[in-house]
Point group: C2
Chain length 348, copies 2
């Protein structure tokens, strides 16, 4: 959008709004408007809201005074939700490896949900060439704030839930559809699902939709009682599987939306006296670096993390304008190891 304006200014001479004019519309000083967009300095809440509404209404975004410097910056900021999920750590390691080859450096910031302006100010101070988000949700104030800046942002390994950014991720719906069909193909018809609890059109929602479609296509029972929404960690799997089994003691398979969830579920099932895969099959998701190290080694939906990392960095480097919100979607495949088994005809 902004680039389009620049273009018009140069070639056709159409007048675009200056920050001075925008500030006047908001009834604030240009310095205050500038503070709002830069994230530096403090700003009162009523004023912040007033500027935010006017920016939405007019579509105004300030020109990026650092654009020249950013082009040559070797720094990329990566925003990570936590260090407890193996998938995030693996992805950072992949990004780091590939960034090094490109002569770029990563700066990793844990999400500070309470104060996105702090994080924004920090990002500004570093003048990175762009920002990578390892997670994005509609309830993510930092994403809101970032989307107002003229800075390239790519969501890596997840859907851009708010559709505010470019994203490089897998085809979650198809991957979950394939995963569910894999279990159905092994003879399972009573399947429980360990899912995330995100709102809006997220990776988790896409996956759940894929699972539902696969079950319905085969006329198998699927309703909310077969899903257990929660977080994506080992602990969530440990807790969640017990709830599923309590509601449906006859489940013969679990599809977990992360390998961490799957590992936690297997540990709990073992404590409950149910063997994996003899009594219950467990299918993971991610194929993270731990998946093959567990016992049983996880059968899981493989995400091509190397490619996702590489494409994310290439996209960031070649981005045409900060407001490119197109996505690159990759296919997944199922890696068969030891945590799922085919039912005998007598067991079906």
């Amino acid at each position: 959008m902004h680039r389009a304006q620049d273009f018009r200014k140069e070639k056709v001479g159409i007048k675009i709004m200056t920050i001075r004019e925008f500030a006047k519309l908001c009834d604030v000083s240009p310095a205050t408007a500038s503070r709002f967009f830069s994230g530096r300095g403090s700003i009162s809440e009523p004023v912040r809201l007033r500027i935010e509404q006017m920016a939405k209404k007019t579509g105004y975004a300030p020109p990026d005074s650092f654009r020249g410097r950013r082009k040559t910056s070797a720094l990329i900021v990566v925003i990570i939700p936590n260090f407890r999920q193996c998938f995030f750590n693996d992805m950072i390691e992949q990004l780091r490896t590939y960034a090094e080859r490109m002569g770029k450096r990563l700066l990793i910031m844990p999400i500070d949900q309470s104060n996105p302006q702090n994080t924004l100010a920090l990002i500004s101070a570093c003048e990175p060439m762009g920002v990578i988000l390892l997670h994005e949700s509609v309830d993510f104030p930092l994403a809101d704030a970032l989307s107002r800046r003229n800075l390239p942002v790519v969501v890596c390994g997840a859907l851009a839930a708010g559709r505010r950014f470019s994203a490089v991720h897998i085809d979650d719906m198809m991957a979950a559809y394939d995963g569910t069909n894999y279990l159905i193909g092994l003879g399972h018809s009573k399947i429980g699902f360990l899912t995330d609890a995100s709102r809006a059109i997220s990776s988790g929602f896409q996956r759940l939709t894929g699972c539902r479609k696969a079950m319905e296509d085969e006329h198998l029972t699927f309703d909310d009682s077969y899903t257990q929404p929660g977080g994506m960690t080992y602990e969530d799997g440990y807790e969640g599987v017990a709830a599923l089994i309590e509601r449906h003691p006859d489940l013969t398979a679990i599809f977990a939306f992360s390998d961490d969830l799957a590992a936690g579920a297997i540990a709990r099932l073992r404590e409950m006296g149910r063997r994996v895969p003899e009594d219950v099959s467990v299918l993971g998701f991610d194929d993270n670096s731990m998946a093959r190290r567990f016992s049983p080694a996880l059968t899981t939906v493989h995400q091509p993390m190397e490619q996702i990392a590489q494409k994310t960095l290439e996209r960031l480097a070649n981005m045409q304008g900060a407001h490119d919100v197109s996505s690159l979607t990759m296919a997944c495949e199922i890696v068969e190891r030891a945590s799922c088994r085919a039912l005998d005809p007598s067991e079906m």
Copy 2:
């Protein structure tokens, strides 16, 4: 050291060297000397060397012009070698949790060995209250560069190998002594060691010394052929254990200097047809978040990561001058799970 100078200046009036005087000694402009210490801007290699030597000779360090701002900074830079070692990821998560409680924020930078000046410049730009190193070695140019700055630095979870910084870590020698004695107490006398390959007085060297002492105290065979030095990752354990077993097929126990190493070793032993712990006992080190999730769950030397993280942050916040190089050492204990077993008298 620097604080002492400040003190003298205030109270006794002894003249200390200004950066102008120091630059004159080096035959460079004050601006160049300032660039050297700030890490901002470029500087030719011969000039850099000349200033470095003069700084060493005179002991000159510039006053910290950011001290006032740093006192109020909520930002802490954490330098991490990689994201492949579970111990580092766990430690960051602990640091993040405790930093949040203190109202501090972490900024995580992967080590850039090739260009420490880049990292230094970045650290300067962020004006953090201090820096945490998750690793320190004598072959670490960034540590050299950091030690010339008047910035609080704490090494977290490792020995400060160069003795240039304060450190919060475990008593590695005692922990390894106890670990070896634990295996000896189970009846093992043929023990192999998966160690790191660091130079100088490092955590790894301390551990190895503890192991050697325990073996010698019991008059058990211990020489270089019983140790396999390498990295600290799963892959290193997977490779290393095969080399140990090839040299000493009669080993009944392995002491691995990280849980990642132990997990890799167990996977390889299994492939070699040796059961853990039936045929070979494997003792880990760290008690990282994966240790209890493996099968068999790891018996391991527990590092008190929560306390180490907490003490590291407290130390950074309360540091009296950047040149405090004292260490805080904590005790470890052995957590018994399922990867080690006692030999029968007939097996000894």
